[in-house]
């Protein structure tokens, strides 16, 4: 038996329209077990629509989804996937503990109720009515409910919307601790910092299709790459003609500034072929990449960029 043979999620050619709005346009996504993937995009990019199709809550117009090799419904019947939705999904008139008990009663076997409450950090408010819980507490309750079936795949849709900074940090600490046990996690977010801080892999969506897919570092590199700065004697300026192609170059007062998508090649050239010294390489931040890739004048959707190789 191998464990690497079946992806946690395999979605192929997903399309979904609502009237004239083509919300998802040919989306392909494969997530391997154990990955923590951020589904990053601006509001209206089709993130929730995609998640609904992955969970089987809505049917794609075209394309198909499998979770651990099963249909979404089949995976749900096996307790292999659970989700933390953005809003709703809670009964206001019962307690935190009753909510988890009720959810556990829907499975033939489940984790002990107090254990999942403790793991979600809400054991001490177990007897509180749901309607008396703060937004952050309700979100942790949704997380506790998702843990009940001990699913291999956990999907979170904008899980920290409306939480304050401390609540957000605590929530992610709980998720991150949980993911270290090997659970596959996919979370949709429009917070760049969350994707950068908590995901192994970022899938950037724009207007219903994937425009970039890779590690946070790869995505940052993608939009305008890195900036390489070095001190270079004026007499060696002529040597720059032999540089690998770059996006932009400036030379001012003995200091060279190069913008490039391949900083390694630039640095290698400078060190091997010139007397450049005091070399600095600075990554552009994710926000610049995000704006560049998802803005209106961004990369056309037909040229999606993916990275091969081990992304974990």
């Amino acid at each position: 038996m191998t464990t690497a043979s079946v992806p946690a999620v395999h979605a192929a050619g997903l399309h979904k329209s609502f009237g004239k709005v083509h919300a998802v346009r040919g989306l392909d996504l494969t997530v391997q077990p154990g990955e923590v993937v951020a589904f990053l995009g601006p509001n209206g990019a089709g993130k929730t629509t995609t998640i609904d199709m992955i969970l089987g809550l809505s049917a794609p117009d075209q394309g198909n989804v499998s979770i651990f090799g099963h249909t979404p419904r089949g995976a749900i019947a096996r307790g292999q996937v659970a989700a933390v939705m953005q809003t709703g999904g809670l009964l206001r008139d019962i307690s935190v503990r009753e909510t988890v008990q009720l959810n556990a009663a829907m499975f033939d076997s489940s984790r002990p109720v107090d254990e999942v409450l403790a793991r979600a950090g809400i054991l001490e408010i177990a007897d509180r009515k749901v309607e008396k819980c703060s937004g952050g507490q309700q979100q942790r309750l949704r997380f506790a409910m998702a843990l009940v079936s001990d699913p291999g795949l956990l999907i979170l849709d904008e899980p920290t919307t409306g939480m304050d900074v401390a609540g957000r940090r605590d929530f992610w600490t709980a998720i991150r601790t949980d993911a270290q046990r090997g659970r596959t996690v996919i979370f949709a977010t429009h917070y760049l910092e969350e994707a950068d801080a908590y995901a192994d892999r970022i899938v950037l969506v724009r207007q219903g299709s994937i425009v970039a897919d890779g590690t946070a570092a790869q995505i940052k590199n993608l939009a305008s790459g890195r900036t390489v700065k070095a001190s270079l004697p004026a007499t060696e300026r002529g040597l720059l003609a032999g540089m690998p192609p770059v996006e932009g170059m400036e030379y001012d007062g003995g200091r060279l500034t190069v913008r490039t998508g391949d900083s390694d090649a630039v640095v290698r050239y400078l060190l091997n072929n010139t007397g450049a010294h005091d070399v600095e390489v600075a990554a552009n931040n994710l926000e610049e990449a995000f704006v560049a890739l998802t803005g209106d004048d961004a990369v056309p959707e037909s040229t999606s960029i993916t990275f091969e190789g081990d992304l974990v």
């Binding site: 038996m1 809505s58 307790g79 999904g89 008139d93 019962i94 959810n103 033939d108």
Partner: protein, 258 residues
Amino acid sequence: MSTATVVQERKPSAGGINRTFLWIEIKRMLRNRRTIIFTVFMPAVFFFIFGLSNKDKLLPNGHSYGQYILISLTVYAAMTAATGAGSQVAVERAQGWSRQLRLTPLLPGAYIAVKAMAALTLSLVAVVAQFVIGALAGVTMDAQTWLTAGLVAWLGSLVFAALGLFVGYLMPSQNVMQVLGPALAILAMLGGLFMPIEIMGETFGNIAKFTPAYGIGQLARSPITGEFDWAWIVNVLIWLVIFVAGAAMAFRRDTKRV
């Protein structure tokens, strides 16, 4: 071999009909003050207003007014209880709970079955409460009559549990009972639960025979009237089929859309 074939389905036994689910549903209903007002308090008030002062009088057809009104209001209490319980699906849909349940192995049929059982539990509470109030107020009937009338009122409420589910799936409102409450009062009146059909006049009397509370009311009172008509059973069954079919259709439409 892939991991896909290893993991067994983990559907709950009986599709999800279990004690925990049912018990939490029942607790939710009994905690709801509005439910208790509609199902216990209001019918009791009606009984004190309309029944108590006349309880020893005789109706034109020779029956005790007290018995007649107690059984009728018990049917009304049970039908309100069951409708209210069924209509709670509207609240659960509005709160996104139905959607949450679709992320569990729970079978939709099991959900409906638990809702129906919870509705029957609440209508049983309504029946017993009404009978206790009536007995304390001095209405006397033989054991056979208490039992038959109680069983008919209780089991007949299933028709209205289906009505509650039907309307609950049609309406997105959190306040579905604000619409259903007055509607039920009209149905109860037309069904002869607030006054004997004989005194309604011919037109209303004829309309009444085709309304959903009529058959159950007539059957529940048959131990004291000594009358029986198969048409009453037909009335109950037809309305049951209509409401169950409506609920099933509305349920399907709902799960397709969400």
